[in-house]
């Protein structure tokens, strides 16, 4: 991992009327890093992710994603990121190949490259024979792995994963993290949210949002030391519960 920031925010504020959803967020995410973005429900994670993906504008503050300005270059940003969530991933009524062609086409890849990479991907996932199966016929674990592969198919600089492993069985959940590590090794920056605290330990650095602010940002080991906690679950409870009480 090198220290080139691929996400840079400075005093990012987002207000909805009188309500401040994101309150002076300042942080950097570096190239090839696995960055865990944690927080309780309603802490402001989704608002921030929507801004970083170029889907919503901040009220004030500086935001750069993949080298582009959030106010003027959102289309450039969208071309340089990938996104996947548990709720929205693939089209159930299209086949595996059709989904790949659809998403790759949106990102403007040529037919030749799509063909090459499709073969490469299906081979890697060991599903060459299943390419013409409908997504709806696949088990959830397979869908999630495929959705991730498609999110990075156009080789984005950053991939945003919003609770990618929710509800997935424990073995598949770990295989999914193997894929995340591979992507990070290839230089793709991974920005991930999760409610599984063991997964927070797999990240290079973790931020924890509380009531719209970033309350803590460090390596998992650093956070455990600072908050005198034996695991990330305890760190999270100390920070998030303190705000409720």
């Amino acid at each position: 991992m090198n220290k080139t920031p691929v996400i840079h925010t400075e005093n990012l504020v987002k207000k909805y009327g009188a309500f401040t959803a994101n309150d002076m967020l300042s942080f950097d995410v570096f190239k090839g890093e696995i960055f865990g973005f944690l927080g309780a429900n309603g802490a402001g994670k989704t608002t921030a992710i929507r801004i970083l993906c170029g889907l919503s504008k901040p009220t004030s503050g500086i935001v750069n994603v993949a080298g582009f300005d959030i106010y003027k270059q959102t289309e450039k940003i969208k071309q340089n990121i990938g996104y996947m969530s548990q709720k929205f991933s693939l089209y159930e009524d299209l086949t595996i190949r059709e989904n790949i062609r659809f998403f790759a086409g949106i990102y403007g890849l040529s037919s030749k490259i799509i063909k090459e990479r499709t073969h490469e991907l299906l081979t890697k996932l060991e599903i060459v024979d299943l390419g013409d199966k409908l997504i709806s016929s696949l088990p959830l674990g397979w869908k999630q792995k495929l959705a991730f592969s498609i999110a990075v198919f156009h080789r984005p600089q950053i991939v945003f994963l919003d609770e990618p492993t929710g509800g997935v069985d424990p073995i598949t959940r770990r295989q999914f993290w193997d894929m995340i590590y591979d992507a990070a090794n290839d230089g793709i920056t991974v920005f991930v949210t999760t409610h599984y605290m063991d997964e927070a330990e797999y990240c290079d650095r973790v931020s924890i949002m509380v009531d719209g602010r970033i309350e803590a940002l460090d390596t998992p080991a650093g956070l455990k030391k600072t908050y005198e906690a034996k695991n990330m679950d305890e760190v999270f409870l100390k920070l998030a519960r303190a705000s409720i009480a």
């Binding site: 429900n41 309603g42 548990q86 929710g166 509800g167 069985d169 424990p170 605290m197 063991d198």
Partner: protein, 304 residues
């Protein structure tokens, strides 16, 4: 039967060519907090819908408080509370209107059973004039539970109440369930979070429509028969791969900041593992024998 609130007997259910439930049998004692633990697609929701009389079983039978889930469905619906996995309250009614609506449907009033929901409802009462659709995830969940309880049901069915909920809210939710259990309500709850199994009196581990194991959580973990170690080194990224290449390894899974290593037999000593890892250029090696947790057991049973 008297001692049981819920009995599932050899229930199977298929959708087209997918077998959602495959000969499921279990029973829940009166007053018990019983957990169905398994990932999405295991068949948990199908089972809940059959037991709450919303779906007919393909074969087999189910009883709730001595009523048959097919023949006596009207009686069952009066005595159970059901919180489905998807938020299903009226989004365009306020918090208070939703609660009044559910109370009225069951021929009761909020006042009559307020005692039962007080601890939960007070947390959302400041927002009682807000539309349900405008609530945060945690508040929706508390309202849904209040609505499922307002007619003082004998048995409560909660389908993945904590999915997508943060770690703090999850802990609070389980504290609420414990309080309800103390008031004599039988609770059947499903969850994909393995760490919640330990909060139940008994659990059924379920995967692909089949029950892998039913017992008290600590009885299940006691039956894990392989030697299990927690391993940490200076090179965590490489560790899982290196351990999988080790001849005695049965499995090596990431668990937070360590790897859980299970071995095929008792013969291999910690020293031998240590020597192997040193040979693979790992430093700061820490190996500790540990007891299995439910997630270790689930993965072991999945692979068997």
């Amino acid at each position: 039967m008297d001692q049981y609130a819920v009995i599932a007997k050899d229930i199977s259910k298929a959708y087209a060519d997918v077998e959602a439930l495959n000969h499921i049998s279990f029973s829940v004692k009166k007053g018990e907090l019983f957990g169905l633990i398994g990932p999405d697609g295991a068949g948990k929701s199908t089972l809940f819908r059959i037991l709450t009389s919303l779906l007919l079983p393909g074969s087999g039978s189910g009883m709730v408080e001595n009523f048959d889930v097919v023949k006596d469905f009207k009686k069952i619906r009066k005595i159970i509370g059901y919180m489905p996995g998807r938020f299903s309250l009226y989004q365009d009614l306020t918090v208070e209107e939703n609660l009044n609506f559910y109370a009225t449907i069951f021929g009761t009033t909020v006042k009559e059973n307020y005692d039962l929901i007080r601890d939960i409802y007070v947390q959302i009462e400041p927002f009682k004039n807000r539309l349900a659709g405008k609530l945060s995830g945690g508040m929706k969940q508390k309202l849904a539970l209040s609505c499922a309880l307002i007619h003082k049901p004998d048995v409560l069915f909660l389908d993945e109440p904590t999915t997508g909920v943060d770690a703090v809210s999850r802990k609070e939710f389980w504290e609420m369930l414990k309080n309800l259990q103390e008031k004599g309500i039988t609770i059947l709850v499903s969850t994909p979070y393995m760490d919640e199994a330990g909060l139940c009196d008994r659990v059924a581990l379920i995967q692909k429509g089949k029950i892998l194991e039913i017992d008290k959580p600590h009885n299940i973990t006691k039956r894990y028969s392989l030697p299990l170690f927690e391993v940490k080194t200076s090179r965590m990224y490489q560790l899982a791969g290196d351990l999988l290449e080790y001849a005695s390894t049965q499995s090596a899974f990431r668990f937070g900041d360590s790897i859980h290593l299970s071995l095929k037999n008792e013969e291999t000593s910690e020293k031998e593992i240590m020597d192997y890892l040193t040979g693979k250029e790992h430093g700061q090696i820490a190996i500790r024998k540990i007891e299995a947790n439910i997630e270790d057991c689930f993965m072991w049973l999945m692979n068997r």
